[in-house]
């Protein structure tokens, strides 16, 4: 439909070559809740304009990792960078470039769709006029323009998710995190959301980190990070991860990796 405003304009920052700065870099990150270790020396990158699937079962540490990337939790050890901005040292600059869809719903149910979007825009310091224009545009893109004034409570689960994604894009981030965004949705809603997000990658050059435990959401050409019990067991292009595990498909590769507990060599 309408072409979105340019997101990936050439960037000129001395010392940072846009071609080599990852959208997200996780470097030796560990995290514990008291004696329980949730993440152990996790390292991987997400490149701009790429779709990276973070694959892990429930309890693998995906949500902890998301809480660290979004600065909800303090980093205990290691480093998280968003386009080169350290989340601990310059959180403002890092968060500005980050859009996030959390696993639990985080919308105000009694407020309208537009009100939810305007609130989010205000949190990013976007002026009311600009925010209204962007909200209208985004609601159009997710096909909910006519519902703009309805309460969020009246939306279906899939519509709420689409609204959350639209909200995450409102401040035009260049990195988008989604924590199991399709959980609890029907087949159609799932497919819609997946294709929408993949479109963002190809058309707008957004780097996407997509946490999931559903193997059928991953496609050849995606980057894969397999997280299991707080450790990265494998990472790289999907075909390589499958080959290195000596498997035929993602499912088998995942079972072999997590069952055998061996960490294949190779990292980004």
């Amino acid at each position: 439909m309408t072409s979105p405003a340019p997101i990936t304009e050439p960037r000129e920052t001395p010392g940072l070559d846009p071609a080599t700065v990852p959208a997200l870099s996780i470097d030796g990150v560990s995290h514990s809740y008291g004696p329980r270790r949730a993440l152990m020396d996790v390292s991987f990158n997400v490149q701009p304009a790429s779709f990276t699937a973070l694959l892990g079962l429930n309890g693998a540490g995906k949500s902890t990792l998301f809480s660290l990337i979004t600065r909800l939790f303090g980093i205990q050890s290691g480093r998280v960078g968003i386009f080169g901005h350290d989340i601990s040292k310059t959180p403002g600059e890092a968060l500005r470039l980050l859009g996030v869809v959390f696993q639990p719903r985080t919308l105000d149910l009694d407020l309208s769709l537009t009100q939810n979007l305007l609130y989010h825009a205000a949190l990013h310091g976007i002026s009311r006029r600009e925010a209204a224009a962007r909200s209208g545009e985004l609601l159009g893109r997710i096909g909910l323009s006519e519902r703009a004034a309805s309460k969020v409570r009246d939306l279906s689960g899939g519509q709420m998710r689409r609204l959350e994604i639209a909200r995450a894009l409102l401040h035009r981030p260049r990195l988008l995190l989604l924590d199991e965004p399709t959980v609890g949705l029907d087949v159609k809603a799932r497919a819609d959301i997946i294709s929408h997000v993949r479109q963002l990658v190809t058309e707008q050059g957004i780097g996407v980190l997509w946490a999931t435990h559903l193997f059928d959401e991953i496609m050849p050409g995606d980057d894969l990070v397999v997280l299991h019990q707080g450790k990265v067991l494998a990472q790289g292009p999907m075909s390589r991860v499958i080959a290195e595990a000596g498997a035929q498909d993602v499912n088998t590769a995942f079972m072999r990796l997590t069952g055998a507990q061996t960490v294949p060599g190779g990292g980004a």
């Binding site: 309890g59 909800l72 939790f73 719903r105 009694d110 949190l123």
Partner: protein, 282 residues
Amino acid sequence: MSSITTRDAPRGFSLQEYLTCLTGIVWREGLRFLHQRERFVSALVRPLVWLFIFAAGFRQVLGISIIPPYETYILYEVYIAPGLMAMIQLFNGMQSSLSMVYDREMGNMRTLLVSPLPRGFLLFCKLLAGTAVSLLQVYAFLLIAWLWDITPPPSGYLTVLPALILSGLMLGSLGMLISSGIKQLENFAGVMNFVIFPMFFASSALYPLWRVQEGSPYLYYLCEANPFTHAVELIRFALYGQVNWISLAVVAACTIVFMIGAILAYDPSRGLARRGPAGGEG
């Protein structure tokens, strides 16, 4: 539509962006408040019960001598009005914190905290938004009280505003400080009993402190040390166009201490995160 400027170099945040954020948070809190009419009604009914029933019954028991800022003998209703205004703010401060605990559980707090603006500023905005809501409640109460013949000087309605903002911030940040130590919603009932009621009763809200002193010197010292007493006195004097400097100093100092404490307690590296993931881990 404006194009995106180069964003890789740190550019900080403009005053305009801070203000947009502040008004956005206050606006949302206001909208939420309007959607919770029962909250508004109960916020009003509580002090009105005290005013219409308790004060009317107590009027004959407790004589009030002439004490500043009053210049004549006053009815007991007139005496407890500022205490009830502070009570509205006390409940509202705790209720805003309750909503923060609730928000945290619902994940709404996450939306706030991933804003790129400094976290301390975001929490300050949240406090100010809660205070704004308490002002609506207090002025609605004052309107009804006026019909009940509690008529401070007209200018008092204006001079009391800064006092209400300060006391609202103090009680809100106290609530936020307490709420950051609570993990479960149910625990909040305990806080009501252990914080709200002792603070309210061990203060000058319902009886002048010289009366308390006659009865129990120790209780008197406790009341004097209670920040809520000073919030009440700050409001009482301001309502009659005067400044109680000691109360002003105490309330201002407590506001700063509670607010810094609340912001530090929310710091992920020092506060909540240590205790475990908020809201369940996937």
